[in-house]
């Protein structure tokens, strides 16, 4: 079966890799805040170190062999792993420069290596105007299939963020929110109601901001105002979806006058505009229970397979959907991504992949 992997992390070998792409050519001045609580067991797969040594995910040729070829991945959507904490950097200009440099590094140093690599336009959301400019600068490259950020300085429906969505809407690219920056640097880890005290707490708690952002975006009318923009929630889990949809619709029946701009039930916006990457997929004791739950909200049309290579919690495409119905697997493994990222329209679904789909 064809595979589109919607979340693969490429890493800088070190921050000097950005030097050719930074305006002042001084990579030594770039730094990243701590991304919440680090994993004491290490953040990377132990078997993903390139043969010459160095950071897992930093060698584009080794990634081809170790991930794309090994699992038969037809397209891998790269989401830069090194700057996951970027949104917690308080210096808007440095953050925006790093985002631009990272995008150029992706295009110049990863895309030429293999046509299966696709990219994400990294933006630094603390300066929405510069983020919008960056989206327009990069969107002409058809291999840049989404916009990405790892945290938001406010609830994502807030008007402060709308310049970014305006740009996304104009260029017709989905907006991806990836975990990683919500408790980094100045983003202060308050999403739990307090700061967690262990990595396992942090890693469960990472899911929580997504609920607040979806509520905010739906109710602020983001998907009415910017109907060309979809949202991809990357690594936030998915089985909380029935709760959120049912609760939103229930509240809407009572509080509709607060949000008179909505034209449909809140859950209908989620069903049409919000997409979820699979990894890390919740694992109930009885594997079929997750299928029952997801079917209740039609999640088989909203899920995008992702591996999270080379991170420690990588989900193998061979096993992660093993309990799922046969007619869900092609949707989740590639059809939903093919459609959302408009690969055919971008002239990307070619060759053997085109024949297979």
């Amino acid at each position: 079966m064809p595979i589109i992997d919607a979340d693969v992390h490429h890493q800088y070998p070190n921050v000097d890799a950005l030097a050719p792409y930074l305006p002042d050519h001084d990579a030594a001045k770039v730094f990243f805040p701590n991304a919440g609580i680090g994993n004491p067991r290490g953040g990377m797969r132990k078997d993903a170190v390139p043969p010459g040594g160095g950071v897992p995910g930093s060698d584009p040729r080794f990634m081809v062999e170790h991930h794309l070829d090994a699992y038969g991945v037809d397209y891998a959507i790269l989401n830069p792993g090194s700057p996951l904490a970027l949104g917690g950097l308080p210096f808007e200009d440095m953050a925006a420069d790093v985002a631009s440099a990272t995008n150029d590094w992706t295009v110049h140093e990863w895309f030429p290596v293999d046509p299966r690599y696709l990219g994400s336009i990294l933006v630094a959301p603390r300066d929405p105007q510069r983020a919008a400019a960056e989206i327009h600068r990069m969107a002409s490259n058809p291999r840049m299939v989404q916009i990405t950020m790892t945290s938001s300085p406010c609830l994502m429906g807030d008007r402060y963020m709308h310049p970014i969505y305006q740009a996304a809407d104009e260029v017709g690219l989905p907006m991806c929110l990836h975990v990683g920056g919500a408790d980094a640097g100045v983003n202060f880890g308050s999403y739990f109601g307090g700061a967690p005290s262990s990595f396992i707490q942090h890693h469960v708690g990472m899911c929580i901001p997504a609920l607040a952002h979806v509520v905010s975006m739906v109710l602020e009318g983001v998907f009415e105002k910017f109907p060309n923009m979809h949202l991809v929630l990357n690594e936030f889990g998915v089985t909380w979806l029935p709760f959120l949809m049912w609760r939103l619709d229930m509240e809407y029946r009572a509080g509709r006058e607060d949000v008179p701009w909505l034209k449909r039930m809140p859950s209908e916006y989620i069903r049409e505009f919000v997409h979820f990457t699979t990894q890390p997929l919740e694992t109930p004791d009885r594997p079929k229970d997750i299928v029952t739950l997801l079917e209740l909200v039609g999640a088989q049309d909203m899920l995008l397979y992702s591996s999270d290579y080379p991170h420690w919690d990588f989900d193998s495409p061979k096993y992660v959907l093993s309990g799922f119905p046969a007619d869900w697997k092609p949707k989740i493994m590639f059809e939903n991504s093919l459609k959302l990222f408009r690969l055919r329209e971008r002239g990307l679904a070619l060759g053997a992949f085109a024949a297979a789909v």
Partner: protein
């Protein structure tokens, strides 16, 4: 790797497996990770029961034992093999996953060790 006959044992020269070394031996369809941990040889199935990650690439160490709230007791030094992907912990002597021992288990193979060779019973 030396897979000698008969097929129910595999013999490896001890010089090929000094302390800290590990290797994979394949017997039929079985992949076995063989590890020398400070002079003790362990042989367990190489494929993690969760998502078939290669256990030979995992880390060996100790861990925190079950304890009362707020207490940390270190133990099982050199006896815990941790999956290279999702960091599940397996006891090398029993094969059981520390967090879910009834459901997740590595096969453990009996090992005989002489001065010159290691014999694994499959």
């Amino acid at each position: 790797m030396t897979a000698t006959q008969p097929v129910d044992t595999v013999t490896i020269p001890l010089r090929d497996l000094p302390p800290g070394a590990r290797q994979v031996v394949t017997v039929g369809r079985r992949e076995i990770a063989v590890l020398n941990v400070a002079g003790t040889i362990h042989a367990v199935s190489n494929l993690c029961p969760h998502q078939r990650a290669p256990m030979v690439a995992g880390t060996v160490g100790g861990t925190r034992l079950p304890s009362d709230v707020g207490e940390f007791t270190y133990g099982l030094a050199g006896q815990v093999l941790r999956c290279p992907w999702h960091t599940y912990e397996f006891d090398l002597t029993t094969g059981r996953c520390l967090a879910d021992p009834d459901r997740l288990k590595l096969n453990v193979y009996r090992v005989e060790q002489t001065d010159t060779e290691v014999v694994i019973h499959v």
